[in-house]
């Protein structure tokens, strides 16, 4: 499912959809919150830096395990220094202040592709804990 992100209410919508999907996938309560936090951070970055973009949420499976994939995409200014953006404390502004660094630490998979002037794509995944293939 795809959520177009342009303003704060879209962030909220993406978070809500992510929460429902995380519940459907069977993520535990605390990891449902983790998914919401991660979506919130990347969606907020879209609103703040790119103005518009999208968040794509999907259920994924691998070796009998289920999980949730979150892809955030924009054609904004890009992140000039990805390494630095992933340092703790880089973001102290809105949201939880944990920024991308916090999202990365909370998720099982996390990748950033960014080109200055071309945009940013962030792909993350969180897997169900209790299912081992």
């Amino acid at each position: 499912m795809r959520v177009v992100v342009r303003q704060d209410t879209d962030i909220l919508l993406a978070c809500q959809k992510g929460r429902v999907l995380a519940e459907q996938v069977g993520l535990k309560g605390d990891n449902q919150v983790v998914v919401v936090i991660a979506i919130s951070e990347v969606a907020r970055n879209i609103v703040k830096y790119a103005g518009r973009g999208e968040v794509i949420l999907s259920v994924i499976g691998r070796n009998g395990r289920r999980g949730i994939s979150i892809v955030a995409r924009d054609e904004g200014p890009g992140i000039s220094d990805v390494e630095r953006a992933l340092e703790d404390g880089y973001s102290t502004g809105g949201g939880l202040g944990l920024g991308l660094a916090g999202a990365k630490r909370l998720m099982d998979e996390f990748e950033v592709w960014s080109q200055p002037g071309r945009g940013t794509t962030i792909a993350m995944a969180k897997w169900r804990r209790d299912e081992r293939g």
């Binding site: 909220l12 309560g29 605390d30 449902q32 919130s40 404390g89 202040g97 916090g102 909370l106």
Partner: protein, 136 residues
């Protein structure tokens, strides 16, 4: 074993800078007693959330973080303020959570990240929240 004693640290909360300091130190304390980074980050999120609530709704208060290592290992967070109190604690805990705008993760979201989450709130006296996460 570098850390073999329980540690307790007190953080006065008067501004967002104080909140950032408390959450960073909380993250370090949790990692020092063996919490994996993702679990320590959940603790940091809760410290951040409780600290922001104090800063936003009351203006000043404190957060005490205890890293307990004897018999069992856990992190205890105590957030205290002398503010107006939470009018309806049940509702605050039952409510949905979001992280959008100024709404924050909410107490409901924070509770889900911890193992134990108790709120004592008295109108015009203040609020004390105690939250525990055990190391498994």
């Amino acid at each position: 074993m570098a850390e073999d004693l329980s540690k307790k640290e007190y953080f006065p909360i008067n501004s967002l800078v104080d909140v950032v300091r408390a959450r960073r130190r909380g993250l370090e304390m949790a990692q020092a007693i063996g919490f994996p980074l993702a679990e320590a980050t959940k603790i940091a999120v809760v410290i951040s959330e409780l600290g922001r609530n104090i800063e936003r709704y009351v203006g000043q208060g404190s957060i005490t973080v205890t890293a307990h290592v004897e018999d069992e290992k856990y992190i205890l967070i105590i957030a205290q303020d002398g503010g107006p109190g939470i009018p309806d604690v049940e509702r605050a805990l039952a409510g949905g959570y979001s992280t959008s705008g100024g709404l924050g993760l909410g107490l409901a979201g924070s509770k889900r990240l911890m193992d134990k989450f108790d709120i004592q709130s008295i109108a015009s006296v203040g609020t004390t929240i105690k939250a525990v996460k055990w190391l498994r």
